[in-house]
Subunit: 338 residues, 2 copies
């Protein structure tokens, strides 16, 4: 794990510096920028500097590691890494409004402090700024044609993300959702951005089309495995490790993969999910899910996507310490308990 | 006006075709795209095709006319025109949520029909799609470096737009706003996008930096004159022509330029604006505004910006029927009664 640790430390430091530059952190700015600094975890609600855990940074790490492993200079990929991390953060600002979420990373969400109206607008600003981050690729010597292609793929990914979010919200209003529809939804909501991240690294390294496609498919399958694992942890995870109650995904009747399996196989679960949630709800739901082996089926899906991810990563033929770090990152993500 | 009419007809037809292609109108799509078709005025709330007045299209016209008048092929500018019109429409979707607006162009706003959550997400999708529209410049033979620069300026403009919207919402919570602050706000909310439009036309035509700067300043001053004129029409406009009650801007205590002048000059108006709105409110407010010649002062500002706009347009040295059309469009906008 030494390669991953060492490269991560350097890369995440460069990422942080880049994002702070684009978001004018440390410059004299008004609340327009400062609300974004709060969301990024750099200041508190009174705009005093703080240090807050700001998420796993998986996407930007994937970009820089892939670029490095594909024989490129990862420092050229820093603007793309900043762009994707800022895009991810923009989507969190709007998701928190759309999902009526009060807390994010242990703190009040932006809209809870400054109101829904300003939060929509702050998200829009961060969306635009993420594009400006990507536009800095040329300053690092990346060619104009690669920059335009990167920007096109970036926005195609944004469209896929919003399409995934559209379906996620639409599913909440529906009684039945098929497993196929669900996989299409999480492809948009989670997997395309990981796919785009791995793809960007290959593109900026100047890899050939076939290699870039392998990196993209590696990210896509990693994203699908990651999301389904998230669904499993959301029901059977160790609360002490995940930090959130396993009850939440069940008591909110969230349509995750194990639940969709369960609903398609178990009459008692169907009946239960049509009733109101009471104290016995979570226990009984898990009992019915276990009866039809919903967990095992979801785990088999995770294993299939994981194997595909590893196969594509192998076919992309990464090299050096970047190769070691990429495989380590993949294994860490696929065996996580939280 | 023949040049303006003829060129407009061709250009707006090409614009419409381009936007429909980017937004997959006529293809088999789900509600994700169809909600956007509704907002664009192409279908009704049941997704049946309709023809609806879709706004003045000033911004895309400015782009294509400027490109043409600067010696370029305006058809190369169509992707940029589509991008800016789609960006403008994205901002309307989010503004309508932020301003709690029920109606837009005589129809229910997107969020009133499909809910705030889906409307935020639809706006985000249109924002991403507007970038994809711009990215099509290269398909029309525009060079990659020009395309990257266009995209950078496009996103810098988006940041300025959201900054203007931030200040507009912030002003509503404040008792005093200076005229300087107000002009800075409308620069962001209105003028930068007109400036960017005129600039894009020059850039795509391959004009030199000085000419592009003149076009940008032409658009900027035109935008400022346009917005202040809008403020004047919002109070003293002919209701029969503007289609909205003059009372609205006053009875909502909107901080427009004539009102800010009035508040800085008239003690009685200050006192009135601290009281609740009753039946006599609008009449008395206009009386106090007239006493300090708030309308005349605002009109003088409009005249100053108009003259600057004309001066920069002249200095940009446009040619041919594009020149005639640009001056006609400018005069039409600056002498409008609605």
């Amino acid at each position: 794990m030494d390669e991953l640790k060492q490269l991560s430390a350097q890369m995440l430091s460069a990422l942080d510096e880049e994002m702070r530059a684009v978001l004018k952190m440390g410059e004299r700015t008004d609340s327009f920028y400062r609300m974004l600094h709060y969301h990024m975890g750099w200041v508190d609600a009174d705009f005093a500097p703080v240090t807050i855990y700001s998420g796993k940074r998986i996407r930007p790490l994937l970009i820089m590691l892939t670029c490095h492993a594909a024989g490129g200079d990862w420092r050229q990929a820093v603007p793309a890494a900043a762009a994707v991390e800022m895009l991810h953060n923009f989507s969190l600002i709007h998701d928190d409004i759309e999902d009526h979420g009060d807390k994010r990373r242990g703190r009040l969400t932006l809209w809870k402090i400054w109101g829904m109206e300003q939060a929509i607008n702050s998200g829009d600003a961060l969306f635009a700024l993420s594009h400006l981050a990507m536009n800095r690729l040329m300053e690092r010597g990346v060619g104009a044609e690669t920059a335009v292609t990167a920007l096109r793929r970036f926005d195609e990914t944004c469209v896929a993300l919003t399409n995934g979010q559209y379906h996620d919200m639409d599913f909440e209003t529906r009684n039945t959702v098929s497993v196929t529809e669900y996989v299409a939804m999480i492809t948009g909501k989670t997997a395309v951005l990981l796919s785009h991240s791995a793809e960007l690294g290959g593109m900026i390294a100047g890899a050939n089309a076939e290699t870039i496609a392998h990196y993209a498919n590696f990210g896509l399958n990693l994203g699908l495995a990651f999301q389904i694992q998230d669904d499993i942890l959301g029901i059977w995870g160790n609360e002490a490790l995940t930090g959130k109650s396993a009850a939440t995904d069940i008591s909110t009747k969230k349509k995750t993969l194990p639940v969709l399996y369960g609903l398609s196989q178990s009459k008692p679960l169907q009946t239960l999910y049509q009733s109101a949630v009471d104290d016995a709800f979570v226990g009984r739901a898990i009992e019915f899910l276990d009866e039809v082996e919903a967990r095992q089926r979801a785990e088999r899906e995770t294993a299939v996507y994981s194997q595909k991810a590893i196969a594509h990563l192998t076919a992309a033929a990464p090299t050096g310490d970047g190769k070691t770090a990429l495989f380590d990152l993949t294994n860490t993500l696929l065996t996580r308990q939280k």
